[in-house]
Symmetry: C2
Subunit: 236 residues, 2 copies
DNA sequence: CGTTCGTTTGAGCCAAGTCAATGTGTGTGG
DNA sequence: CCACACACATTGACTTGGCTCAAACGAACG
């Protein structure tokens, strides 16, 4: 694909946009060199599937650019999005045979992939990497558990408010007047699949928030949050 | 409390019931000795609180005996149980300042506690322990994500069926006739708090499953599952 | 034996789901 | 460039699963 010649390989990581945020950040130049040897870059188009629920987990990756979703389906076909993965996040299931979820790119993405086996071997030999991975996994577990509270105990309105706050936090650009604009990487259906709701309910709640003057729906995917404090009050 | 004299401390771990399942299982005798020095045993009565949501996380622990719950409260006071912790499971939030959930013993319990700082220092110096902890955390993350699907996309009936299957799996004793009996460590309210339902709905669903001849309610806390296949069909 | 706490049952209601129609971009081929 | 198709989004009408409120029941315990 876009393999660099062996001599310049070393530079791939050095020039990496997420060099200092990802789990590789603690490694010394020699270690980075080895990692470079077993990893490769890969591009994904929006909508492209990287892993399938229940299939063998052959690879893991670092996300360099783009947003991906982890999702799982109930017996009767309903989808539940289990999490979103952002740049510098780690992706995949090391030390496990099968992937418990499917992975799909929501936007055009750029990732740094490793054969799971290669990565595991490297990780076991480099405790600093495993430590980084552990910290990340613990953080991810906390975030996932917070999402359980949302799914189990919040009303549709509270769910939407919480979702918008999170998106503003992650992807928002603040304006001078205190408002924040978010360009959503998700369709209404996908928002519903995150919040455990239906498309119709998501749509209705958004129009209600608009009617209350809390948000402005600039275009399908673009939402401006005019009064974020109101959202925080609703979310609790 | 029940401190052993320094000379016999070493034996505490050797005699430990979960010696070969917990995260300490890979350590050599010397390492076990150090761990012994920084840990201590502690008993908890059913209902006793070990950690508080949002408070500083001062300790971590291994569960030797008993079952504990992790839970969190929404702004309007509703509780959501985020997970159950069983013997040989690890408990607490290493490498984090505050505990994102409360921890309470559901049954009389016996745990092996460490000051978080001490544990962290030891872990960083002993990669085999960190690796075990990583594997455990990854598994816990998978289990938590599976629960998200339940909370977001299942009906009350499916939730109950899934819950009973999980409990039978974890705590059930199989009879000769193919049935399984479970002694629940949870009240109806707590079951509701796990499944994101109300007590009334839990009660109604249980009576319905009984009416269908799938389960028998021997006593409040004791449930016999007569036809587990039926439950699996319902759960999907 | 009465009190208490957890559980079950009942009646009514409401939030969110379902089903169906309409609206709104966006891209495609004539 | 327009018209058509198609996918996504919104809105409306209706239904319903699970919640709320309230009462009755039952086991455990002083």
């Amino acid at each position: 694909m876009e393999e660099a010649p062996a001599s310049s390989r070393h530079d791939l990581c050095q020039a990496c946009a997420i060099r200092n945020q990802a789990i590789c950040s603690d490694l010394d130049p020699r270690e980075i060199g080895i990692l470079n040897g077993i990893g490769r870059r890969r591009r994904l188009a929006a909508g492209e599937q990287l892993m399938w629920e229940g299939h063998e987990a052959v690879l893991v990756a670092n996300v360099i650019e783009g947003i991906l979703k982890l999702s799982s389906h109930s017996a009767d076909g309903k989808e539940q999005i289990l999490g979103l993965v952002y740049p510098s996040d780690f992706l995949g299931r090391p030390f496990g045979e099968t992937s418990p979820y499917g992975v799909e790119a929501l936007t055009d993405s750029h990732i740094c992939v490793f054969e799971r086996r290669d990565f595991e071997r490297f990780a076991r030999e480099h405790p600093r990497l495993e430590h980084k991975l552990l910290e990340r996994t613990l953080g991810e577990l906390d975030r996932t558990r917070r999402w359980m509270l949302l799914l189990g105990r919040m009303t549709a309105e509270q769910k939407l408010a919480s979702f918008l706050i999170e998106m503003a936090d992650r992807l928002g650009t603040s304006e001078a007047d205190g408002s924040t604009t978010v360009l959503l990487p998700l369709s209404r259906q996908q928002i519903a699949d995150i919040l455990g709701l239906t498309v119709e309910t998501v749509s209705r709640q958004l129009t209600q928030l608009r009617a209350k003057g809390i948000i402005t729906l600039s275009s399908r995917r673009e939402i401006r949050i005019d009064v974020i404090e109101e959202l925080q009050t609703i979310a609790g």
